[in-house]
Symmetry: C2
Subunit: 205 residues, 2 copies
DNA sequence: TTCTGATTTGACCAACTGGTCAAACTCACG
DNA sequence: CGTGAGTTTGACCAGTTGGTCAAATCAGAA
């Protein structure tokens, strides 16, 4: 296996090619459904060569998940008190929907993992993820208490954003089967904007 | 294999046991991740005995999906013009959420299939499902045109209901990891009620 | 009880899968 | 050009998996 010195040019290229191929295959077939041969073919390398760069199929999967979880939550991390609360939240929704459009493979990789009980990232969920959400929930509560957005259950508000946006990546086939030719994301963008404006606009009371 | 006369007592019992076990295993591991041995063990039968009742692993999966798709859409079929539109829709949301709580395995079986591109039910989606949704969308449009609910993109409205309710079954681990001890469904029920009331309440204009 | 079709199973198989390994090849640098 | 580290691969292996089959066992109608 490659030494842990600075990676050579070849190492960089091949690692990237393998991860790219692995993302394709894992996201489309799940961990168990993916085969190393398939990933090797997709990456244009031989099977033993894959296992020269990653010690096991499991290791490729882990590498993908580790990288994913980090970047996947960036939009939520970016949510802060810098602007108007409602616009801030709408921007978050918008960014999440963009990720579903531009990185559907990542979304499906994540969905596959969670649907099957998150055997490999359960700890990260109840530690890192929970901590981040708790933090942002505090911000939401502050906004609600100050009357700057309408009060709703803050945790379920966040779940709803995840659910509604990721749905367009994870259930893409279903959405397209029903919509026909219409572009799902154009309609979704407007619909979600409307939905969260009506849900969260400060209301007299 | 069993003849196609009227099923015997034993045939009924064993077929049911097999499908029950298959639902457990398929929904938890996906099609590729499930093994016939696993299903056999769960059903308390030997592997060759399973294959006496179903010609293949594929056939068990098909039997489950066929039954599922039919019952899964019952709540939507029940949506009609008999009551107040908003309450009718809220009842639909409520029923769907109940299904996520009471039949999470079915929801996950479906999710697994769709996330991986619906290779086995693509046709049913773009024919039966699309037809049903088109039909209900006409009803929604009529309600909107009559000013009885607020206007929104009707297809995305239906997607949102599927997404928000099924999320609590499919992403159960994630939801619980974040919520801790709090019961997800209690909060979800109230949250979704609020969300759709605010989204759909007829508004002056 | 007997007999026939229904049910069950142990033994088996071929294909597939993740992973190993020694040998061969390539590259960059002195 | 020589050389040693870095890279690649064909051949191989053991475990798993979906599925087969002939033989054994069982249920129930006559």
């Amino acid at each position: 296996m490659p030494q842990d010195r600075a990676p050579t040019r070849i190492q960089k290229r091949n690692r990237a090619a393998i991860l790219e191929a692995a993302l394709n295959v894992f996201s489309a077939n799940g961990f168990r459904g993916a085969t190393v041969d398939q990933i090797a073919a997709e990456a244009g390398l031989s099977k033993p060569n894959l296992l020269y760069y990653f010690p096991s199929k499991e290791a490729m999967h882990e590498a993908l998940l580790a990288e994913l979880l980090d970047t996947w939550l960036d939009p939520l991390r970016a949510l802060d008190d810098s602007g108007e609360p409602l616009e801030e939240l709408l921007a978050y929704v918008h960014r999440k929907l963009e990720m579903s459009r531009d990185y559907p493979r990542e979304s499906r990789l994540f969905a596959n993992e969670i649907v099957q009980g998150a055997p490999r990232i359960h700890q990260a969920l109840s530690e890192d993820l929970k901590a981040l959400v708790d933090d942002k929930v505090a911000l939401l509560r502050a906004w609600m208490d100050a009357g700057r957005i309408a009060p709703v259950h803050p945790y379920h508000l966040i779940f709803s954003i995840w659910s509604l946006t990721q749905h367009y990546a994870d259930f893409d086939v279903q959405v397209r089967a029903v919509l026909g030719d219409e572009d799902p994301f154009d309609g979704a963008d407007l619909f979600l904007d409307t939905l969260y404006r009506r849900l969260l606009s400060p209301r007299p009371d």
